[in-house]
């Protein structure tokens, strides 16, 4: 390979290497290119690793959370089982009326669950309609 210093006003020879006007030797140019290549390769692998972590993170997140609180309803009810006995008769009614909360949410839970199931059915029908895109044929 011949290095031509056309356009460079003062080529020098130092330590056996050709030196440009900008004092950039052939070796330095190669070094700079290699540095850029290394940098780009590292950026590529970092990005790949980041994308993989994003994907696996989505799958792992629920399993990381679940064991901490497997059944929130039960945890709530366990916490509620710590009884504070009222000091006065006036407080008794209030404490006993709290029981009603258990029954008042029963129908709400039924409704929510039924609607979830109905929506699942609706979604599965909707999915069929998106099996194709007629505009892309």
């Amino acid at each position: 390979m011949v290095v031509d210093y056309e356009g460079c006003t003062a080529p020098l020879i130092a330590d056996g290497f050709l030196v440009t006007k900008n004092n950039m030797t052939h070796k330095q140019i190669i070094g700079a290119v290699i540095t850029v290549l290394v940098f780009v390769t590292l950026a590529f692998f970092s990005r790949q690793l980041f994308s993989r972590n994003e994907l696996t993170g989505q799958a792992e997140r629920p399993s990381q959370v679940m064991p901490q609180n497997p059944d929130p309803d039960r945890s709530q009810s366990t916490a509620a089982s710590v009884v504070t006995v009222p000091d006065t008769i006036g407080e008794v009614a209030g404490k006993i009326e709290d029981d009603a909360l258990t029954d008042s949410t029963a129908l709400d839970n039924e409704e929510e669950s039924s609607l979830d199931q109905v929506n699942q059915g609706s979604d599965s029908v909707n999915n069929l309609g998106t099996s194709y895109d007629e505009n892309n044929l």
Partner: protein
Amino acid sequence: MKITCKRGASLFGFFLLVLPMMALATAVPVENRQVVTEAKKAGMPATQQETFCSRFNDRAKVIATTLAERKGQFDRYKNNQTSTREEGRSNRDALLEDQRSEDDQKRSEIYTTLGTKVTTEAEKSAVADFESTVEKAVGVRQAVVDDTVAAFRRSVDTAVAGRKNETESAVEKFQSAVKEATAKAQSSCNAGTDPALVRSTFRSSLEANRFVLKTDRGAAEKVGMQVKSLAETRRVTIKKALDDFRTTVKVAQEKLKKVFGEVSTP
């Protein structure tokens, strides 16, 4: 090969600009690149029309596979619908039972505490009356809630069953219509019909089928509205039961206060 100073600098600059772009382009997921390619294709209707028949087999396979996969999902939902619903109900019943047991325990401790305050026979009798009245009211409240929830479940079952056949037949009709349109397009292609005409007819059929499915799908959404309406109606019954319970407990408490000489706060 000659490398001049300027060329060397230009080469370096070129690498600096192009390589990161190449690296990022490689990092873009394959699916995204396919989407871009598809979008480009969509912008070339003339080419698409000309090559429609030659590409048809592949297209038809993709549509058939996706449709079969999604029909499978619908079938799984349909087949497991009843068992999933029953399983959810059993779980909620068990949870309600657990919570009620805890509430029983709490009330029992309250009665015990009241018992420790008793100093006369009248107070003892008043506490016993209070306990009896409250327990009876709790029983009535729970029975009303249980009956209401059971009635709600029956209504939901009826509503779902009423729309089940409509939804299933809509899905079957859609699947058959897509298969029929595909077969017709294939046949037209084989017969040498103008690919542009075959494509246009096929697209119109698919579009119409989707519209019919969307309309039929409204049946499932009607069930959702029915469920909300049923819950609203039943909620009135539950509210009355809870109000009655609170009133009974309040009255019993006032009686107890009088016996114990505790002053009521307004």
